[in-house]
């Protein structure tokens, strides 16, 4: 017998209310006059302010016509004569669209229209009856915010024009609509008391009974509003608790499902909309991040920039986030993050006279432990990021308002708001925030950001109107509309009850972003070191009278920083964004190579003597590495000194090969045909390094679901894939220093050649990978099962080391199955260990005594072409005595990543002892040679300077003077030597 589910078919009271609410909304406009003179030109944006047009001429645009094209921008114009009866009255421009439009009337930017708002106030900005419209519209298949169901329903690259109107708003109806919107959300959300919901439903039903929808009259609407005031809002029997700070904000991805060039107008529209809200609502305040976005307004829309400056001066438009963009905070190295602050703060200081005291990164995919020190020394006391509370897939992050202690012991106040950074300011969202807030007793208010975002847009009139009504709803928590900095100061300063989180802010999600788009990561690493050397060499040449290319270096740094944005460098973007980034990287590399220049001698730009085997490019060399001819040698060049280099002399008798058994002065090695190492016997330390699969390439099905480019899920290990040996390991060649072996592996679609290099005088074993990669949803790792008893993986953070447990005892360790590291990671026991040193790989996993470097992924969303094609990358296995610190693995990793530069310059810099010379540059004000030093091993010590130097913060402000540096573990020190 078939089971028939009993369903209620009659209309519930709340459904009857919703039906009538829909009818009421049809009366928001008391008058609509269609503009029938629209003309349109379809275009495609090709740079920040340039467009390619499909046709030279405008064509008429009528209601019902198709408009917009894929990746399309449209320019729409109209001339319209205002009806005489509207002159001197309130009227607006209304246009329902899926596109993002910037509207200019009679030469004035009057506002923005997009899927989140369909009208703008016109009468306050346009003079006279003759109105000339200039609209620039940009249409995306992916709307600003996929959380807005109305946006989703109209997505698509070809849209139907629904007409544009000069309209008059019926303020009584509009006000009632806002009342009902708020009350329905509260009553139907299930987060408030059910008796309260029942009371609201009864009250709304009764209020709407006062309106005759066949003949809607203003007095009935006013009566319904009065009924709500007197019967719902006046009812204070239902008491809420809590205290929620409301900060208006719009999240703007500089690139994501759109290119960087499009963000210029996305940002302008967002800024414009918020400025117009400020015109209407004197209490409205708004927080906006990223100095870069302010720069684009200043550069391209100076009249809006002037308006913006006035609102900033009033304290209503609030620059938040000290950084230049909202960067990824896993992959960029320490100096990049410092520059994000330096260039961000320099801009805010110069243009607005402000030092922004917070770091505002709502969407960033986890935060390195090195950040607190960088922030603190860049004038930043507060850190804000929503990700850990709202996106962790395993553990609930235990705090919302707390103190974050960094790797060196520096502390910043940290706010990880309990809910998402994109909300639309509904009572239920405010209540959910308070309920999820974990520091109710210690933390003061909880932070709620409101405003549409991802692609900008921000707060709407509706959000502000609802906010003005919140105090009428006794069941809600107390709310306060405030700025970001006011909220932070009020709730954190002097609050001694706050808990402390000492460690990285690891995001238990998006673990694939350490690996996705492999080439971008490698380029980022390479350019970070090229920038270091370009600045260093420019300072040295300046001492010999050459001009320091300050402007050019700043321009390159800013381009690198833009590409470190959290949806660019992590790889979570569409195909054209990748193309833009690669074009930028190629240009930066060329520009930096020009600045670095050439010479007859090799300069060691490291502040320690090189002792590791190094590849020297030479067209007469007998080895090809990453497509370049050269040879390997151990350069005998002291710190910051120049010298000549010759290939190692001597024969090949240092190596003997017998099938897959190889003898070198340091090792007895037994290879498997697939290039993995079955035994690596250390002759010097008399021990075996291999236990399990070692140097074994492993491929897995990598199917994380919707967040394809972002995530690796722990279940990848459940489905390994076969990799066949196409050409087994064979000995290729040897010279006086290096011997090469080659193996070719293959799947049905891809081919993977591994060149294994052994050295006469180095413990390092280099693996070069030449890959033709054509997979889908695969992850490849190089696995190393080490014969060490270790329960921790030591990882380079770029500014010190972090130790992570390799057991799976608790859910916290289980969740960290894939982590971010920088140049190296290491597993060691007392007496020895194995390091993996890379040139641009960031993802690594470790369990027990096995570590696995993530090499390549093959994701299809957002970019179906992600990582396809050829790859060529190297890394080095480095067994060593002692632990990573005593074995100087960090120095070896610097040597591996920073090539010798050909340059004929005299290097007259002091000896900074064990400290890493992280940067040498001309200060932004041109008064100092800035020297940045970083303690990277966790040691304490003293360095005597040859002369007194200014002690600077990271913004290059002088904070003291000294001729002696007393440093502590992982401290970063900035000195200024006067010119």
């Amino acid at each position: 017998m078939a089971h028939i589910k009993v369903q209620r078919r009659s209309m519930r009271p709340e459904e009857w209310i919703q039906l009538r609410f829909g009818w009421l909304k049809r009366h928001i406009y008391s008058e609509k006059n269609e503009i029938t003179t629209f003309m349109i030109k379809d275009a495609r944006q090709v740079s920040e302010m340039n467009f390619e047009f499909y046709d030279e001429e405008f064509r008429p645009l009528k209601k019902g016509d198709m408009y917009f094209t894929p990746d399309g921008t449209a320019f729409i114009e109209a001339d319209y004569e205002l009806p005489a009866h509207l002159e001197g009255k309130k009227y607006c421009f209304s246009l329902k669209t899926a596109a993002e439009m910037i509207v200019k009337v009679n030469g004035v930017y009057v506002g923005g229209i997009d899927p989140n708002r369909e009208r703008l106030n016109l009468s306050d900005y346009a003079e006279g009856r003759k109105l000339h419209f200039e609209i620039m519209g940009y249409n995306r298949s992916k709307p600003d915010d996929e959380r807005n169901p109305e946006s989703l329903s109209v997505r698509g690259c070809r849209q139907i024009f629904e007409g544009g109107y000069i309209s008059v708003v019926n303020e009584a109806v509009q006000s009632l609509v806002y009342d009902i919107e708020m009350l329905l959300d509260a009553a139907l959300s299930e987060v408030f008391n059910e008796d309260f919901s029942a009371m609201v439903i009864r009250g709304l039903d009764a209020a709407l009974n006062l309106i005759d929808f066949d003949d809607l009259r203003d007095e009935d609407v006013i009566a319904a509003s009065k009924y709500i005031d007197e019967n719902i809002f006046a009812n204070k029997d239902y008491k809420g608790s809590g205290n929620v700070a409301l900060v208006a904000h719009s999240h703007l991805d500089i690139a994501y499902y759109w290119r960087r060039i499009h963000a210029v107008q996305k940002n302008l529209r967002t800024v414009l909309i918020q400025l117009r809200l400020m015109d209407k609502y004197p209490d409205f305040k708004y927080a906006h991040t990223q100095a870069y976005t302010y720069e684009t307004v200043e550069k391209y829309y100076p009249e809006i920039f002037e308006e913006l400056k006035k609102r900033i001066a009033e304290g209503r438009f609030e620059p938040v986030g000290a950084m230049y963009v909202e960067p990824d905070c896993n992959v960029p190295a320490c100096e990049s993050l410092i520059r994000q602050c330096l260039y961000g703060q320099s801009y805010f200081r110069e243009k607005f006279g402000l030092t922004v005291n917070n770091c505002w990164l709502p969407d960033v995919f986890g935060n390195s432990w090195i950040l607190p020190q960088i922030l603190k020394k860049s004038g930043v006391d507060y850190f804000v990021s929503n990700k850990m509370s709202t996106w962790n897939d395993t553990n609930r992050f235990p705090h919302n308002n707390f103190i974050w202690k960094g790797i060196d012991g520096s502390e910043v106040y940290a706010c990880v708001p309990p809910t998402h950074f994109i909300t639309w300011n509904m009572p239920s969202q405010v209540q959910e925030n308070w309920e999820a807030y974990q520091d109710k007793n210690e933390g003061g208010q909880t932070l709620q950001m409101f405003g549409y975002g991802d692609g900008g847009s921000g707060a709407t009139e509706e959000m502000v109107e609802l906010m003005h009504r919140f105090e009428k709803l006794s069941v809600m928590p107390k709310t306060e509309h405030t700025t970001g900095s006011e909220f932070l100061k009020k709730n954190f300063d002097g609050n001694d009850k706050l808990a402390t989180w000492d460690g990285e802010l690891y995001l238990e999600m998006h673990r694939g972003t350490f690996t996705t788009k492999s080439k971008m990561k490698a380029y980022n690493r390479k350019l970070e070191f090229m920038l270091r050397d370009a600045e260093l060499l420019s300072v040295l040449r300046m001492k010999n009278g050459k001009e320091y290319p300050a402007e050019k270096l700043r321009e390159i740094y800013k381009k690198l920083m833009i590409n470190q944005f959290h949806d660019i460098l992590p790889g979570s973007h569409i195909t054209p964004v990748y193309r833009d980034a690669m074009a930028d990287y190629e240009q930066m590399e060329k520009d930096l190579a020009e600045i670095i220049g050439g010479g007859t001698k090799y300069l060691n730009t490291l502040n320690f003597k090189r002792k590791s085997v190094t590849f020297i490019p030479d067209k007469n060399g007998n080895i090809i590495r990453k497509g370049e001819k050269g040879y390997y040698t151990i350069p005998d060049i002291f710190a910051l000194s120049s010298g000549q280099i010759e290939p190692a002399k001597g024969g090949t008798d240092w190596i003997s090969v017998n099938g897959n058994n190889v003898e070198t002065p340091l090792y007895s090695i037994k290879f498997a045909p697939d290039g993995s190492i079955l035994s690596l016997r250390d002759k010097e330390l008399c021990r075996e390094w291999v236990k399990g699969d070692f140097n074994k390439l492993k491929m897995y099905h990598d199917t994380p679901g919707n967040y394809d480019a972002w995530d690796i899920l722990p279940n990848y290990k459940d489905r390994p894939c076969e990799i066949a040996v196409k050409k087994p390991l064979e000995f290729i060649m040897a010279d006086g220093e290096c011997a090469e072996f080659s193996v070719t592996l293959a799947t049905e679609k891809s081919e993977w050649q591994m060149i294994i290099r052994l050295f006469r005088d180095s413990r390092g074993i280099e693996i070069e990978n030449i890959v033709d990669w054509n997979e889908k949803h695969k992850l490849v790792k190089a696995e190393y099962g080490c014969n060490v008893l270790s329960r921790e993986l030591v990882c380079d953070t770029s500014a010190g080391i972090i130790r992570r447990e390799t057991h799976r005892n608790t859910s916290w360790q289980q969740a960290r199955f894939e982590v971010c590291h920088h140049k190296w990671c290491d597993m060691a026991e007392q007496g020895g260990g194995v390091a993996l040193i890379n040139e641009g790989k960031y993802g690594v996993s470790a369990e027990g005594s096995t570590m696995a470097l993530s090499l390549l992924r093959a994701t299809i969303r957002p970019d179906p072409t992600s990582d396809m094609g050829t790859h060529n990358f190297c890394y080095m296995i480095y067994p060593h005595a002692g632990d990573a610190v005593s074995a100087d693995i960090n120095k070896t990793a610097f040597e591996y990543n920073v090539p010798l530069r050909k340059a004929d310059v005299e290097c007259a810099l002091p000896d900074f002892g064990k400290l890493w010379l992280q940067a040498v540059k001309l200060s932004e004000n041109g008064k100092y040679i800035v020297v940045r030093l970083c303690e990277q091993n966790g040691e304490r010590g003293v360095v005597e300077l040859p002369e007194k130097a200014a002690v600077l913060n990271m913004l290059e402000d002088e904070i003291g003077e000294s001729d002696k540096i007393e440093y502590s573990p992982f401290e970063i020190i900035t000195l200024g030597f006067r010119m």
Binding site: R44, T69, P70
Partner: protein
Amino acid sequence: MEKYINEYIRPRLQGDGGEITFVKQEGDEVTVLLQGECSKCLILDRCLAWIEQRVEADRGEKVKIIGIRKKPYFQDV
């Protein structure tokens, strides 16, 4: 036609998070594979009609574009 689809149309669809690949042409029927955002677009027919218009405007050919959608496994519900 393959070059036109791959070099002219493709970057425009990629700009919207979509992906198009030429599959075959038989007479006046051109078959293309649609991935990315295109694969789940609710109004894809409008875009295919636009491609037909562009082909006619740029190449003087009247063709019918047949689109094959290939949704990612995680969106194929």
